[in-house]
Symmetry: D2
Subunit: 151 residues, 4 copies
């Protein structure tokens, strides 16, 4: 059985969403476009539902849209890993590589944390157009953890 | 007298804005929040007018808002430098360092291009809260130039 | 059967090494510390043999040592993918995250290219201490391809 | 009169060099190639003396050489700013843009810290060939400060 104890298996998607809704509801201003599909210890998968406001002429998604998804999805993995203490995580540095023009479809970010220290977490997000195998963007980011709860 | 010939002094703010409006009007969807204050050869200054949709509870501007301004303002400097050929520039890699929480005021990006090659341009953006001396974010980004017009 | 035709399966480790020795022998100045263990289409694995000159007091490997391995191993994957045309690849931007202090042992870089375009290739390198599961550094880098041979 | 009190004007070049020699002498293994030319609060200038081992055929300096100078020179500015507490600074993330092939001459790095927080410092290094105006590389890096001495 998969444990949801943050000390072992991390929070699941519903638990992370509940924490975000309680502490940070403004993330949803403008519509609930972000769907946490899966979460767990050091990992997450988040879907950005395609909406007209994200689409650029020529039918592609904008750079800021991809940045927003990458940043949010790594944040989700941090909360899944650290629990409530992760809410205070603050993006310190983010590098994003734009690899291909995404189709005007849902965008899915697959995240893995590659370091969770006492004061810094580092994660990688790989972004794909829904149903396509080719990566459209890749980001790595580090987050300051003001109150990680770790010794 | 300052020349506006792209071969010498670069386009000025009004010339860059006219090119963007002609080729890329969708940048203004959601309101004209970006104001090109100054432009010239390898440089630009762009203001993001504070709007409610950019503000986070606690009264700070969001990371995506800062990313959007950094990316757009470097793009402005590329067009000011290359003229119409710069319109096709595409962000390849962008690294942003978040340094301080910006006040809920206008945000100003000061850009300098540090390389303009045949196929790649690299720029740096420094973001400040309007009227404050402390930098709130700093970004460097490289752009592919599909059609730079340079030999 | 695995093909070594660059158009299908990429060059193998011996083929990449032969190309590097012919075009770029100076990479080995100071001793053959880099061992190409595996290569193929869009991938490579390179080992840095531990040598005294790489070790810092306290028994860890230096940042420049990790940078050098990351940069070289992605370059190997580009040559494995593009063949002789990859020799001309030039590092454009490299971001490296230092995650943990590596032990004073061999360091192994596992590389995957996440984009191979006509003019730009992007790769990711994950660095591990020999025999350990924890990543000690992660890098992403883009390379200009002056002469990729692709249309 | 310029103060050398870390609380006001920062350490000067000789003071930083004395601290590094005491705590971290191994930086000079292989010869004293790094010369701290100037240091002060949030700034430094460091020269890499050209040596044969840094030169690549074709007469240019290697990427690892530029990385090493960028990383070390930002570290110097951190020590100049924080004094002895800065010695413990550890590179967390470094992004380097290679802009032009440097001539086989001395390389000079001009550094400015853009953030000095309690737990993180962020600096920018601009690298020039000695006597030339064109930048050959630019780096931004963040450093964890285990023991900054700041409240």
């Amino acid at each position: 059985m998969r444990s949801n104890d943050p000390a072992s298996g991390g929070l699941d998607a519903a638990q992370v969403e509940a924490l975000i809704n309680r502490h940070f509801p403004q993330i949803h201003v403008g519509g609930r476009s972000m769907l946490i599909e899966a979460a767990g210890d050091r990992q997450a998968r988040v879907r950005l539902r395609q909406q007209d406001r994200h689409v650029r002429p020529g039918g592609t998604l904008s750079g800021p849209t991809m940045f927003t998804l990458a940043d949010f999805s790594i944040y989700v993995a941090i909360i899944a890993t650290l629990g409530e203490a992760g809410i205070e995580a603050v993006t310190s540095t983010l590098t994003i590589n734009f690899l291909a023009k995404p189709a005007p479809r849902d965008l899915v970010s697959v995240v893995r944390l590659i370091r969770v220290g006492r004061r810094l977490a580092v994660g990688e997000a790989q972004l794909f157009s829904d149903g396509a195998a080719e990566m459209v963007a890749q980001a790595t980011a580090s987050y300051a953890l003001p109150n990680s709860g770790l010794p």
